[in-house]
Amino acid sequence: MKRYKIDLKIILVLLFLSPGCVEDILDKTPLDKYSDAKLWTDINLADAYLVRSYDILASGYSPAILMSVTDEIRFEFTWGPQNYVKGTITPDNPQPWVSGWATDEFPNWTKNFQNIQIINIFLKNIDQLPDAYPENERESIRKRANILKGEALFLRAFCYAQLAMTYGGVPLINEALDREDDYLSINRATFQETIDFITNGCDEAASFLLDKNEMLLGRATKGAALALKSRVLLFSASDLTADGNSPNDLVGYDNPDRMALWAQAKSAAKEVMDLGIYGLSDFGAPDKAAVAQNYYDFFRQKDLSNNEIIWGKMYSKAIGAGNQMNLWNGSNGNNNWAGHNPTQNIVDTYQMEDGSNFSDHYVVDPNGIYNNTSAKYQQENIYKNREPRFYGSILYDSAIWQSRFPNLSNRDPLGIYDRRTRISIKNGVEVSKIYGIDTRQGPIEAWNGSFTGYIMKKLLDDEITGKDERNDNVWIEFRFAEIILNYAEACLELGETGEAATYINAIRNRSGMPDFTGDIADALRYERQIELVFEGQRWYDIRRWKILEDKLTDALGIDITEINEDGNISTTWKRILAEKRTVDPRMYWIPIPRNEINKAPQLEQNPGY
């Protein structure tokens, strides 16, 4: 009995001890990834691969975007954009043209080239992809693959356009690079070669792409490819690169044929106009109030279906893919950060509703006080009787914005943007002084108050309150109004003033403004500045027009004081310095980061750095 028991135990143990048949536990592949082989044989996966490229394309909303380095905006915070407008940008510190949480949407060197490599890998593989499908499916797959190829070509051209308009000529890479390649022999292409590469890319993309009505909204379209070409050709034909004074051929044309360049720019814009599916949206002119509202609402759209929009980027807060434009730029009095502060400079640029200049009606005295000198508009308040787009773009003192949180709704039942300081004087003694809720001395997050006295209204959404909710209004990259203005500018430069005037006035009239008076070139620049305000075009415009030194001057703001002296109320609007700025001619171009030149010494740095 005992003997038997021992044997059983030993048998059991020997069984337990034996390693048995171990399957090869190391022979496994990841469960959360697709392999190379799977990706390039499945059109849906290839499609998703391209979505990545859309996602990292530098265009859309982030806490700091391109308007922050122009005369439109005094940027609230000390990082990023201030490095440029204070003139301290260097190759060692090329902020804000580097990726980061706040400046993710700035078009920069590294990010665009990364995207180009991603796209080049796609282009290398997409042509063979349909072969992986059975014969009977191959044709339809190839059709889809070709459209994807068109999208990829557009995305690559878009990346190069951002690079060219920021750095000038750049290395042109049209196939996927390998780690073993000799990078030291790759040099910057000339500006001309770079522009040609982009426009060819746009044309090729357009040949594969369908237009907006046949594509999924948000995907690249034929119209987008042609609009990009129009934008790039307008840029390259302008003074910065084509007036014959460029320091070298990396940042401009050698011996440019100016007229030919403008002609190309014109026809590129015309190509888009001739597609026939885009038009100017109706803002309800001549009803000025309606225009103000509709202009504002235009940028609050949630999708890209409007026929003025050629291409842009959509957001959806329902699935956590919103942006936070309100939080980043809304008023401190609504617990927001007031990041991009519109300047007094641009506020003063807005015309009066009759098309006359603001400066015809108000003068600024040596103390900075605005004095009304107008016979027609006898309002002390400088925000009265301005053109409709002002009311749709800028949030100024006492303008209605959002209802306040309960703690302030007694004080501010209307929900205005409250920027005035109210001083009460009785019998010559100051009895109270109350700072506006949205000032930098206000009761709520004063340290986030706007420096200029304004915050953006355009691109924000008054229906979104607090810090918590996300925005999901679209980012519009190309819209028909820009194409019209591109066209008008090219016409003007070609001497076709009549054609130019027609389109300039088309833009004005649509916004309830009368035909322009005075110099047509000024009128054109005014329309571009006002119509496209905050849309990211201004930085390119003031550079290509070579007016950076004139425009990137000190940023101004407003200080408003309302004195109630024994029942008599008087208000003053005083212009103040909101930011000291320094401009240097080298700032027409952005430096190639020092680290990059250290790695690739053959790259020539941009002038002045």
């Binding site: 990545r52 948000g218 959806s316 309960p406 109350i434 001395q441 340290w447 020092r594």
Partner: protein
């Protein structure tokens, strides 16, 4: 593992062999007695013990049930059959014991247990068998009850075997030490019983025992001694000092080693040291006790307060976490283990770790939990109640100071009086304190934090066993409370541990070990970082709580830190469950001495569920305009003018998380241990091991809860609901072995080899790696010439080692071109989300692990009668094949996502020195033990891009060396500014930056590398212990050196938050131009706070602190005996008691950041009882 000596087996006794009529007190009785005596005491200590007692009662019942009262028989009546041919005496004893109820007892060292006996009897009386054995061995056997006493046979052989009736004798005598000094307090117990006594102050004792009993003399620090009474009435005993530290066994990877034979750089911390600190995470008990380990605690938050551990610094640019091995299973969690369950922690720092191959390069921490020993059931109960309070809190500016600084800051910006945030009148009002409604002066720490929080631990364990079954079981409960006044924060951990070793028969043993834990972490929905960030930021000029009790306003996000730590924000309920189980078996191969097969299988389960329920809360703001307009001044009640606002979230929302993972480990090992000619000691094994891991998780989110009563998904709205998941795998397969040889424990040699395979790397290249280790040692002090010449050095061992090890803590599957899911896009008229795929890093088919070549030389020594210990180790490590990207050679314009490649090199070197002095004088014993470690690394290769100037080249400097401008004081005035190169826009009161390259401008090139990093290069600890009679005092001083850290991790001081008092005192003002600190500043707008960070923003992290102090009192023996306790001790203990020196002026130097939950100073009182 070495076979246990038969003597030891025999010298212990069996529970079930208690004869019932024995005059000794049955082991059951003390338990029963104890119940009544102790219950009252223990219940007084805590009501929570009832549960523990239920368990105890249950266990008693089990023991009762197992203990029968066998009828006592005479050796003449017991018949036995056996066939032993030339087998050892020990084996004979064992066989008799296993077949009868008798036990042999004898005095150690008098009997040669190895002498051979031959017994071939069939159904013969035991009496006759013993006579036969007596003839062969010249031994005498005397039966007293169930015991058979074995003695040397002298005189008449006719009395070789006899049965004696029980007789009580009184024995007295004196216990002295080796120097002839009396030993007071020495314990004398009767073997096999709990009867005993202790010596008096003269070392004298007297005890009445049954004749034939064996007395056990013991005293702490001395070797135990056994003496048979044998009718003697006077027994004087000389106890010899316990050299057991030389006999001590150290847990090594896959085995154990006698301390004296260890030739690696190995440090061990005992369970006793671990439980000195009243802390919940084991890692926090290690600081200062492990030479060569950098242990830093970055946060004191309950549940998140574990320290990070680096062995010999950071030797890689990648992950430098050491490998944690718990009970032989690599990769288990350290901090969820109950410190009371740990038997020892061993750290392998050099080639001794090479047996862990590809995971060993960062050092290996071996944790061994307790198991049972052969003894009657011993219950231990430990309890402490602790009171925690922050070690150091930042001192913030008060309201008048803050308002004044803000005015200064605004004046430097040219803001005119009318636009300043605070007027001079405001400052006066803040100063006066008479206007609580409009001008409060708030100390936020005071308002938000309680004076202390409580910590508590209960631990009940039972341990014991017989020759065949040994068991250990324990339950522990740890509780830590949050320091907030209204606290949602708490941490509860429940530990369950059981260990069972069963010897099935002569050849086969099996074991079962389980470690279970449940951790409940409860927090508010605001992180401690957010709470402490708002504590330093909140304006002292705004009310934390209005005089009527309502909470005041936030700066933003609803962050009033009086409210945010509470359940008003919802809750974050994080529960983690671990079940780590191991089954093992050892089979000694019959017929081949020293050969055994061993195998184990471990299955570890981890499960985590977290419920994050966020809801809005209300904060109040005074409508100041209306309040003042109504004629109030700030003194009058403003309740009617407080307006509440709902903060943070517009409505309640819930996120549920479920994560689980499973790891299985299988190990099979063939051991061979043999001693040849009593001088060649061989110990070897070869083994196979594999492990597999799978992990997965899901999360789900809903918002728009109509009420906060039901925090479950179904009660939420369906709009904007969201969910996600993850999955992860890992596997390893390893072959390894070790060969150890020593000649007379003097010449020591060890070779280990491991071949590791990992699924992280490709089959073609990199999956498999070989990791050898060679160690050699020479114990000079064993040599005759040594003992003849330098005998005062009692012990000296030289040792040297080399090992090649790997580090595989890198992302798996980098050899594959994989595409993971990334941020998607919104496309289509319905704005649908399309996920994107992106290449998860460029593939590198050659990718493999990092390789470390570790060299170590050292010595261990003892002087002056073993009172002085001096050990030193010197190491050099070259870590190669570190995964880095070819940054320098691949320009960004290629757009190539660079793969990791194995080419980085980091060198590190350093040393550890241990110096100790331990002595014992009569009833006073004391010891001081210090350790000092230094470890420095330098980066040799990481493909550094070209730098503009040579002094910015990081190669050759430690990892993480900071590139900073160098500060050189403060600009006094305008003239001073103009006299020196300065940043454009600099003004008086700004920090002077050194123009390092002397080009007359402050440019990027003026930044220099500072070699001190956040990781200290120097760590040291000094522990001391004094024992006088029943009092004990132990302490630990711990410190670090050569490290620096950034302060102002939250840099919103100015209009965005309060200033540190540090920045207020002695700052530059127009009236104090010879200042050492800069002017009042605004967030990051001054160049020295934003674009030009200098070393002024860093502070020296060096510190020394009284880490631990414990004063204990052991209840006198005779009192313990009265209630039948084996041990009873009360103690008071303190952790992080005070900083002896620190250079950091703002916060505790050890803390991670100025927004971290503070480190806690703990005062605890506790008891340890065993019975």
């Amino acid at each position: 593992m070495a076979e246990q000596a038969p003597a030891r087996i025999n010298a212990s006794y069996k529970l079930e062999s208690d004869g019932g009529i024995s005059p000794s007190i049955s082991p059951l009785k003390p338990l029963k007695l104890m119940e009544n005596n102790l219950r009252r005491q223990l219940i007084m200590l805590s009501k929570r013990l009832i549960f523990a007692f239920l368990i105890q009662l249950f266990l008693c019942t089990v023991i009762l049930a197992n203990t029968g009262n066998a009828q006592l028989k005479n050796i003449e009546e017991v018949k036995i059959s056996m066939k032993l041919q030339e087998k050892s005496l020990a084996q004979f004893f064992k066989q008799v014991e296993s077949e009868t109820d008798f036990k042999f007892t004898y005095t150690d060292n008098l009997i040669d247990l190895k002498q051979p006996v031959t017994v071939e009897e069939d159904n013969t009386s035991l009496y006759d068998v013993l006579v036969a054995v007596s003839m062969q061995t010249n031994l005498r056997f005397v039966q007293v009850n169930e015991n058979i006493h074995v003695k040397l046979l002298t005189g008449n052989k006719r009395n070789a075997v006899e049965v004696v009736e029980l007789q009580e004798v009184t024995v007295s005598g004196k216990v002295i030490d080796e120097n002839g000094e009396p030993l007071p307090g020495a314990t004398i117990t009767v073997f096999g019983t709990t009867t005993g006594t202790i010596t008096d102050i003269e070392g004298n004792y007297s005890i009445t025992v049954p004749d034939g009993s064996v007395l056990i003399f013991s005293f702490i620090g001395y070797e135990q001694m056994r003496v048979s009474v044998d009718n003697q009435s006077k027994i004087d005993v000389t106890l010899q000092p316990d050299m057991s530290s030389l006999e001590e066994v150290v847990v090594m990877g896959y085995g154990t080693e006698k301390q004296v034979n260890v030739i690696g750089s190995v440090t061990t911390v005992s369970s006793k040291e671990l439980t000195l600190s009243p802390v919940s995470s084991i890692s926090n008990a290690l600081a200062g006790r492990l030479p060569g380990a950098i242990v830093q605690q970055n946060s004191g938050e309950p549940g998140n307060d574990a320290a990070s551990i680096l062995i010999r610094g950071s030797s890689t640019l990648g992950n430098s976490s050491p490998l944690i091995v718990v009970n032989g299973i690599p990769g288990r969690d350290l901090n969820s283990i109950n410190p009371n369950d740990v038997e020892s922690i061993t750290v392998l720092k050099d080639a001794s770790a090479a047996i862990y191959g590809a995971r060993a390069a960062n050092g290996v921490i071996l944790v061994t939990t307790k198991s049972g020993v052969e003894s009657p059931a011993t219950f231990s109960y430990d309890f402490y109640e602790g009171f925690s309070t922050p070690t150091m809190l930042p001192e913030m500016a008060d309201a008048p100071t803050y308002a004044q600084m803000l005015r200064e800051m605004q004046s430097y910006r040219g803001i005119d009086e009318s636009n300043m945030a605070y007027s001079l009148e405001d400052i006066e009002k803040y100063q006066s304190g008479e206007y609580p409604w409009t001008h409060p002066n708030t100390d936020w720490y005071d308002a938000a934090l309680a004076d202390y929080s409580t910590d508590r631990r209960h631990n009940l364990s039972v341990s014991g066993g017989t020759e065949t079954v040994k068991y250990f079981g324990s339950f522990g409960k740890q509780f830590n409370d949050g320091i907030y006044k209204t606290s949602a924060t708490s941490f509860n951990r429940y530990n369950f541990s059981a260990n069972l070793d069963v010897k099935i028969n002569e050849f086969l043993s099996i074991g079962f070990n389980t470690l279970g834990s449940k951790e409940d972490r409860m927090y508010s929905t605001k992180s401690s970082a957010s709470i402490f960030s708002s504590l330093i930021r909140s304006y002292p000029t705004s009310a934390a709580i209005f005089p009527n009790g309502l909470p005041g306003p936030d700066i933003e996000y609803g962050d009033n830190p009086v409210v945010t730590p509470s359940f008003k924000t919802g809750f974050d309920d994080d529960k983690r469950y671990r079940s780590n189980n191991k089954f093992s078996a050892t089979f000694r191969v019959p017929g081949v001495e020293g050969l055994s097969l061993e195998s184990y299988y471990a299955y570890d389960i981890y499960f985590k569920e977290r419920k994050l329920f966020q809801k809005p809360w209300v904060l109040y703001q005074l409508d100041e305009g209306a309040y003042l307009a109504a004629g109030n001044t700030g003194k009058e009640d403003g309740s009617a003018f407080l307006v509440g606002t709902s903060k943070a979230y517009s409505e309640p929302r819930l996120t549920d998380f479920y994560d689980d993972s499973k790891t299985s480990t299988f190990n099979f090992k063939i051991n061979y241990d043999k001693t040849l000619n009593e001088s060649h000691n061989i110990s070897a094994f070869i083994a196979y091991e594999n492990s597999e891991y799978t992990g997965k998780g899901i999360q789900a989110y809903r918002r728009y809860f109509i009420s906060d009563q039901l925090p479950y998904l179904f009660a939420g709205g369906t709009d904007q609901r969201d969910n996600n998941g993850w999955v992860d795998i890992d596997a390893r397969e390893n072959y390894f072995g070790r060969f150890s040889y020593n000649f007379e424990e003097t010449y020591l040699f060890q070779f280990s080899f491991r071949r590791d395979g990992s699924l992280r790397f490709s089959e073609e290249s990199g999956r498999w790696g070989n990791f050898p280790g060679v160690l050699a040692g020479w114990r000079l002090s064993n040599e005759d010439f040594w003992q003849d010449n330098v005998g005062f050095i009692n012990f000296l061992k030289l040792k040297a080692s080399w090992g090649k090890m790997g580090n595989d803590l890198v992302a798996p599957f980098q050899y594959l071109s994989g595409y993971g899911f990334g941020n998607g896009g919104i496309f289509g008229a319905n704005r649908a989300y399309t996920p994107s795929l992106y290449q998860t890093g460029a593939p590198n088919p050659f990718i493999t692990w990092e390789v470390a070549n570790v060299y170590n030389v050292g010595f261990e020594s003892m002087f002056l009668d073993n009172k002085v210990t001096l050990n030193a180790d010197f190491f050099y490590q070259r870590r190669e094949d570190i995964l880095v990207k070819r940054n320098a050679s691949v320009p960004d314009f290629t757009g190539i996502a660079l793969p990791d490649e194995n080419f980085g090199i980091v060198d590190s070197k350093g040393f550890e020195i241990i110096l100790g002095y331990n002595d014992q004088k009569a009833d006073f014993s004391y010891g001081i033990n210090g350790n000092f470690s230094f470890a420095r690394n330098s980066v040799i290769e990481f493909d550094e891009p070209a730098r503009n100037v040579p002094w910015q080249v990081q190669t050759g400097h430690p990892q993480g060396a900071a590139l900073l401008y160098q500060s050189a004081g403060i600009f006094r005035d305008e003239e001073h500014v103009n006299s020196l190169p300065h940043v454009p826009g600099a003004r008086p009161g700004d920090i002077i930056i050194v123009d390092y390259d002397e080009d007359g401008k402050i440019t990027n090139d003026d930044r220099i590398l500072f070699d001190k990093t956040v990781n200290p290069e120097i760590t040291y600890g000094v522990s001391f212990n004094f024992t006088y009679k029943n009092f004990g005092l132990t302490g630990l001083v711990q410190g670090v050196g050569t490290a620096m850290r950034r302060i102002y991790n939250d840099d919103r001081q100015g209009s965005g938050g309060n200033y540190f008092q540090y920045d207020a005192v002695g700052r530059w003002t127009p009236d104090n131009i010879n200042a050492s600190k800069p002017r009042a500043f605004e967030r990051t707008e001054e160049y020295w706070r934003g674009s030009h960070i200098t070393d002024y923003s860093y502070q020296n992290r060096a510190y020394a602190r009284m880490k631990n102090l414990q004063l204990s009192y052991t209840i006198p023996r005779h009192l313990q005996d009265a209630v039948k306790l084996k041990n009873a001790q009360m103690y008071v203990s303190g952790q992080n008691l005070f900083l002896i020196h620190t250079k950091t002026k703002i916060m505790d130097p050890e803390l991670g950041s100025d927004t971290s939950y503070p480190l806690m100073k703990v005062y605890a009182m506790g008891v340890r009882i065993s019975f």
